[in-house]
């Protein structure tokens, strides 16, 4: 456990704790994440609506969905491509059960009825997908979950009675309650921030709780865990259920942020982008997916202008993403976090040799 602790601290770039009270120690140990939290809370003061919505909002939502993948892949060893589909299903259910511009399909339930049911349906789907793919191992998971995700995309594309086919749903408003219009940029930002921080903390907590440790044991050696008496399949399926919960919340926030959902929100390229975000950020720590999402969102928002400025075709954005991903996979399999960890250990080694 101590080993895990120090490596986690190393990831966040915090030096050795000084000898002082337990509170001060705790603060200095978590300084980086506390500073980040403070910055995020105060961010609306300095940022305009564009940065709140297009950069911060998207980063945290995509980060949450990628976080659910990171949890499964990093701690469970199961690279599930179905997480975006779980999020998309939750979003679709919000549109179907709640309010949209399509009275023919939507049921116009109030948000407090639509949201829980949407989450339940999405989590049930995610758990079922997990139960199916947990029966096979390793690389099969990618194939099965990719097939599930692609089937769902084609289903939404061709199904009109429930998913409204090609067009999907538009004008899906975020709810108003507690006297706040949650669709406005600043309240929506705080709602997204709250859930992103909550899911980050939850993943961090679960990864150190007995269940998370058992899951990591299952990842490293399923046969030995089975022999000790752990139910390997049950742990895997439970991990899928937990990840699906995070993805479902992310999907609902995505619909409220975007105000619409269509088959192209759950298309194969989007599903793959979530994997790219998680892998580029790094599968070793829950902060990774958010870093990956930030890089992706910044690229997506500014690459077009940047490419044109350099004299290239702005439409080659997708190739830029592909090349960046390929470089990361080829040269730093543990993502940006891995680069950071290696850099800090090297710095520390240089530091140590100088001190001597």
């Amino acid at each position: 456990m101590a080993l895990v602790q120090t490596s986690k601290d190393g990831a966040l770039g915090v030096g050795t704790a000084e000898r002082s009270g337990p509170f001060a120690q705790w603060v200095s140990r978590h300084a980086a994440i506390l500073l980040l939290g403070l910055f995020m809370v105060l961010f609306p003061i300095i940022a305009n609506d564009f940065f709140l919505r297009q950069i911060a909002g998207w980063t945290m939502i995509l980060g949450m969905i990628a976080l659910s993948l990171m949890f499964l892949a990093g701690y469970g060893g199961m690279v599930s491509l179905v997480q975006m589909t779980v999020a998309g299903l939750a979003g679709y259910m919000i549109a179907v059960l709640g309010v949209s511009s399509l009275p023919k399909v939507s049921l116009f339930w109030p948000w407090w009825a639509a949201v829980p049911l949407a989450i339940i349906i999405a989590v049930a789907f995610g758990t079922l997908a997990g139960a199916l793919s947990a029966r096979t191992e390793g690389i099969y998971t990618i194939m099965i979950t990719l097939a599930l995700a692609t089937s769902f995309f084609y289903l939404t594309l061709q199904n009109w009675p429930i998913f409204n086919g090609f067009n999907g749903f538009t004008t899906i408003p975020a709810p108003n309650f507690l006297g706040v219009k949650w669709g406005d940029p600043v309240p929506l930002y705080y709602m997204i921030l709250f859930f992103a921080a909550l899911s980050y903390a939850a993943v961090l907590y679960v990864s150190r709780a007995p269940f998370g440790l058992a899951l990591q044991g299952v990842r490293d050696n399923p046969r030995r865990m089975e022999a000790i008496g752990y139910n390997v399949t049950a742990h895997r399926v439970a991990a899928y259920a937990f990840a699906a919960l995070i993805a479902a919340i992310g999907g609902i926030l995505l619909v409220w942020q975007n105000n619409q959902i269509s088959p192209f929100s759950v298309g194969v390229d989007v599903v793959i982008n979530i994997l790219i975000i998680a892998v580029v950020g790094g599968l070793g720590h829950p902060i990774g997916p958010f870093i990956g999402a930030l890089i992706y969102v910044i690229l997506r928002t500014f690459a077009l202008d940047a490419l044109v400025a350099v004299g290239l075709d702005g439409r080659r954005f997708q190739m830029l993403i592909g090349l960046g991903f390929l470089i990361i996979v080829l040269f730093s399999p543990d993502g940006v976090i891995g680069l950071w960890r290696r850099w800090t250990t090297r710095m520390r080694a240089i530091d140590g040799s100088q001190r001597r």
Binding site: I142, A147, S151, I321, G322, F325
Partner: protein
């Protein structure tokens, strides 16, 4: 399961007839069900439908057309999926760029056809071009990360993104139709009665010749591959490699050469399938993920790494898609999806797969 019935799957020299007989002996109820279904299907195809029947199931012509379309589509899926399953079986490499290779083959075949005016020459060009790309992928990238399944898969993913963007760059987003050559143009009569006119005259089914020819070619390729795998030295090496590639390389065989050859062959088949798909439907943006999905589902249903499994899976998925489009318009994808779920629940290794 494998220990109890392992024998019948693993004996190769003792004759296939024996194995089938033993399977029937072990599974009397399943054999009966399969026999009844086959007889019923034959009756559906060849007998004229009774009057009440058409009210429930619609016109016989529609059903027969869906059946034929499904079987021929299965032939196309087999061509795509067999390369995928071969590469996966031997190298444990889930080649997510397989759909891109399919699309690339389609475009190259189209270009070759435009230049030379020969449809058949397009197949040669598509096969060679895709084989070269496949060889390059195996030689320059995957050879360096052997045994790292996940990393290889992620690399194929990155490559598929780059390939599809390159193809959009070169050929644009518009769909391209590959013309059927004149000698295969048009429908031909089939010995199947689809309806009886009031005058008592029988109406025969007319079906596009090109689809029949391509299906026959797919069957021939399948048989040739089966023979190559089971009767030649290279085939023995490939089968040994699927079972235990470390052992094969320890025995002194040049596994790397074998890997490159299999990758080239699988990629080349996908490229040829691209022309078939371009003739059946069209070559266009997004077809790469469609055929990647088809390969995935076919291989999951049929059994990973098994070529007879790919044939069976391709037939099932092709049929379910076409029948589904005719009879359950809004849910036809769900049908193949359900088949996949049922197979995974009952036999996670696929219908003809081995653990």
């Amino acid at each position: 399961m494998t220990t109890a019935f392992g024998d019948d799957g693993r004996i190769h020299g003792a004759g296939r007839g024996d194995a089938v007989g033993r399977w029937v002996g072990h599974h009397p109820i399943w054999s009966l069900i399969i026999a009844v279904v086959v007889i019923f299907l034959l009756w559906l195809v060849f007998a004229p439908w009774p009057a009440g029947f058409e009210d429930v199931f619609g016109k016989k012509l529609i059903f027969i057309n869906a059946l034929f379309n499904g079987i021929t589509l299965g032939g196309l899926y087999f061509l795509v999926a067999t390369g995928f399953t071969l590469i996966f079986g031997l190298m444990r490499n889930v080649n997510l760029a397989h759909g891109s290779l399919y699309l690339f083959g389609g475009y190259m075949g189209y270009e070759a056809g435009e230049w030379t005016g020969s449809w058949l020459f397009g197949y040669v060009v598509a096969f060679i071009c895709c084989a070269i790309v496949g060889m390059a992928m195996q030689f320059f990238i995957f050879r360096r990360m052997e045994g790292q399944d996940l990393r290889q898969t992620l690399v194929t993913l990155g490559l598929s993104i780059i390939f599809s963007d390159l193809m959009v760059w070169i050929w644009g987003g518009n769909a391209i139709q590959i013309d059927t050559p004149d000698y295969l143009e048009g429908p031909v009569p089939m010995p199947i009665v689809v309806a009886v006119k009031s005058s008592g005259e029988a109406v025969l089914l007319y079906y596009p010749l090109v689809r029949l020819v391509i299906f026959a070619a797919a069957v021939l390729i399948g048989i040739a591959m089966w023979l190559a795998l089971n009767r030649t030295r290279v085939g023995v090496m490939i089968r040994a490699g699927v079972d235990d590639r470390d052992m094969l390389s320890v025995l002194g065989y040049r596994v790397q050469l074998l890997f490159i050859a299999v990758f080239a062959f699988g990629a080349g088949l996908a490229g040829m399938a691209g022309i078939v798909g371009g003739t059946f439907q069209s070559v266009s943006l997004g077809e790469d993920s469609h055929f990647l999905l088809a390969s995935l589902v076919v291989v999951i249903v049929g059994g990973m790494g098994s070529i007879p499994g790919a044939a069976l899976g391709a037939l099932i998925i092709g049929l379910s898609e076409q029948i589904g489009t005719v009879y359950f318009q809004n849910y036809s994808t769900v049908l193949s999806f359900l088949i996949m779920v049922i197979v995974l629940a009952l036999r996670p290794q696929g219908l003809l797969g081995r653990r």
